[in-house]
């Protein structure tokens, strides 16, 4: 089957800094592709380049075979790409319900059904539906951020470091929820937590210094101690 997302030799600058220096990756439909790498390797910049928040200087981003790197972020989102940014990006002064409503692009039967499923997956959100999102715990905020990206019939979900700053028990819950969700979506996951990454991931890419330096099945990386030590320090 053709790849859902493809990055080919992508170079991206932030101000004068040349952050991405040739990122190439392919995302198979239905699979969870994990991006690994040390802090500063360019994982978040890769996600922001896919979403069109940053514009690549060179290279191409293709979604479903179609180049998208010249499109505005809102147009990219409307192709069916959901984004859960690092640090969640929730609207703290809005209620949980309002956060979900901003996210829902069309009030269709399918979206309502997806919302219902997300609330089953994350019952806390149902419980605090009228609370201000800023009052939620870190784990609940992450659940809200994921639910927001899930309510639209997205074909691709980009999730950036969902486990960051969360307690182990919360990470456990989140991993289980994401494992359920991966049956309905293709996912690109940036994750530092190796246990979570290896449980969810099908394919993996390792990034270093703004380049993709390794590609392969997640299972083979998990077994490769030398590679893990070299690029991930684990």
């Amino acid at each position: 089957m053709a790849d859902l997302l493809e990055l080919e030799g992508v170079h991206t600058d932030i101000d004068q800094h040349h952050i991405l220096q040739g990122v190439s990756l392919r995302v198979r439909p239905g699979a969870v592709t994990v991006l690994l790498g040390r802090n500063g390797a360019g994982k978040t910049t890769t996600m922001r380049t896919i979403m069109g928040v940053l514009r690549p200087r060179r290279g191409a981003v293709r979604f479903d075979g179609r180049p998208i790197h010249a499109l505005a972020p809102h147009a990219i989102a409307r192709l069916g790409i959901g984004y859960v940014p690092e640090g969640q990006g929730i609207f703290a002064t809005l209620t949980v319900d309002e956060n979900l409503r901003v996210a829902m692009l069309a009030d269709t039967a399918e979206s309502r059904d997806r919302l219902r499923r997300a609330l089953v997956l994350f019952p806390d959100l149902e419980r605090f539906r009228d609370a201000r999102a800023g009052t939620l715990s870190g784990g609940q905020k992450q659940m809200l951020a994921i639910a927001r990206a899930f309510v639209n019939p997205t074909r691709l979900l980009l999730i950036d470091e969902p486990s960051k700053g969360l307690a182990p028990i919360v990470i456990e819950h989140l991993t289980a929820a994401l494992a359920t969700m991966k049956e309905h979506a293709t996912v690109v996951l940036v994750e530092q937590n190796f246990a979570m990454a290896s449980r969810l991931g099908d394919d993996c890419y390792v990034m270093d210094d703004g380049r993709t330096v390794h590609a392969g099945p997640m299972a083979s990386l998990a077994a490769d101690q030398a590679l893990k030590r070299k690029y991930l320090g684990v």
């Binding site: 972020p73 809102h74 989102a77 940014p85 609207f91 002064t93 809005l94 409503r101 996210a103």
Partner: protein
């Protein structure tokens, strides 16, 4: 609990001058203060939304205020010249003239606002210094255009007779009419904005955008369309503010906007950048204190509004209702 503090302070400020001012003068000053506050609110509300959502410091807001006043003035002159609706004793004709003048101000100011946003503001998003320079430049051009079109001198604004003069309440107090109209209009605008922001989908997206515009974009909303709409709405409010201010003073001048802009910025800072409710509270605070102090110690009037701003910034650097972004 904390949210109750600003309204309570406001109430204290309202009643405190009674210690020094006799009740009848106090009532007159209070009505004038509320009216001034509501008029400043019209200008500040647009400014705060434009800053809150778009992070744009729009110094041309004052010029849009003047343009609204002049556009409304021309409509009022035309309507009164043709049908005599300002001089007519009919309340209906008077209200009709006011509505048409407001419509003229809205159309001209919002159209100018859209042109400003598309042509000169869009290239300088995210660059405050350039925004200040280019919008100040636009202010000069727009003011000079007023001088060319309407002449450099003050113009006498036709005010419908119903809104002139005063009502005697039980032969006890004299309440000026126009300030009451201004207060009612300000309250209606606030209610309308609240409804729009809190009860409609567009308002929901705008509120989300004030907090995190990048997130709104990556959720699939074309933020630039909302920017233009908010800029147009803010400009329309400035224009209506200018027209009402002109009717309040019964005269208009090309430079009137610049003077009001200072008040509006003070109000936006007191209320908290991006908060409409904050702007309302801030505007009423400024309007009332300005009038009380102008009665007691005329020379200190502007100084007191500055002092309130400094005080608020010392206690709450984000303003009364600001979220501190």
């Amino acid at each position: 609990m904390r949210r109750a503090v600003p309204p309570l302070l406001g109430l204290a400020l309202l009643l405190l001058p009674l210690l020094a001012i006799e009740p009848r003068a106090w009532l007159t000053l209070t009505v004038a203060g509320l009216a001034m506050g509501m008029l400043v609110f019209l200008v500040a509300a647009g400014l705060t939304l434009i800053f809150g959502l778009m992070d744009v410091l729009n110094f041309a807001h004052g010029a849009l205020f003047s343009w609204g006043a002049y556009a409304g003035f021309s409509v009022a002159l035309l309507v009164n010249g043709r049908w005599g609706w300002a001089d007519s004793p009919s309340v209906l004709a008077n209200a009709g003239l006011l509505l048409l003048a407001v419509a003229g101000a809205v159309v001209v100011s919002s159209a100018l606002g859209i042109v400003l946003e598309r042509v000169i503001v869009r290239p300088v998003y995210g660059q405050h210094l350039f925004q200040i320079l280019i919008t100040l430049g636009a202010t000069i051009v727009l003011e000079e255009l007023i001088r060319i079109a309407w002449g450099p001198n003050d113009q006498v604004m036709p005010v419908p007779v119903t809104f002139k003069g005063s009502w005697d309440v039980a032969d006890l107090v004299v309440v000026l009419r126009f300030p009451i109209i201004a207060i009612a209009l300000g309250a209606a605008v606030y209610a309308g904005m609240w409804w729009l922001l809190h009860r409609t989908r567009v308002g929901l997206i705008v509120r989300a955008g004030v907090e995190n515009k990048e997130m709104v974009q990556v959720m699939g909303h074309d933020i630039h369309r909302y920017f233009t709409a908010v800029f147009a709405a803010g400009s329309a409010l400035a224009g209506v503010g200018g027209l009402m201010w002109g009717m309040f003073n019964q005269s208009i001048r090309p430079a009137m906007g610049g003077e009001q802009l200072i008040f509006a910025f003070i109000v936006v800072i007191i209320g908290g950048l991006g908060s409409v409710t904050g702007s309302l509270v801030g505007a009423l605070l400024v309007g009332l204190s300005y009038n009380y102090v102008a009665y007691l110690v005329p020379k200190a009037a502007i100084g007191v509004t500055m002092a309130i701003m400094v005080l608020v910034l010392l206690v709450r650097p984000t303003g009364l209702y600001g979220t501190g972004k």
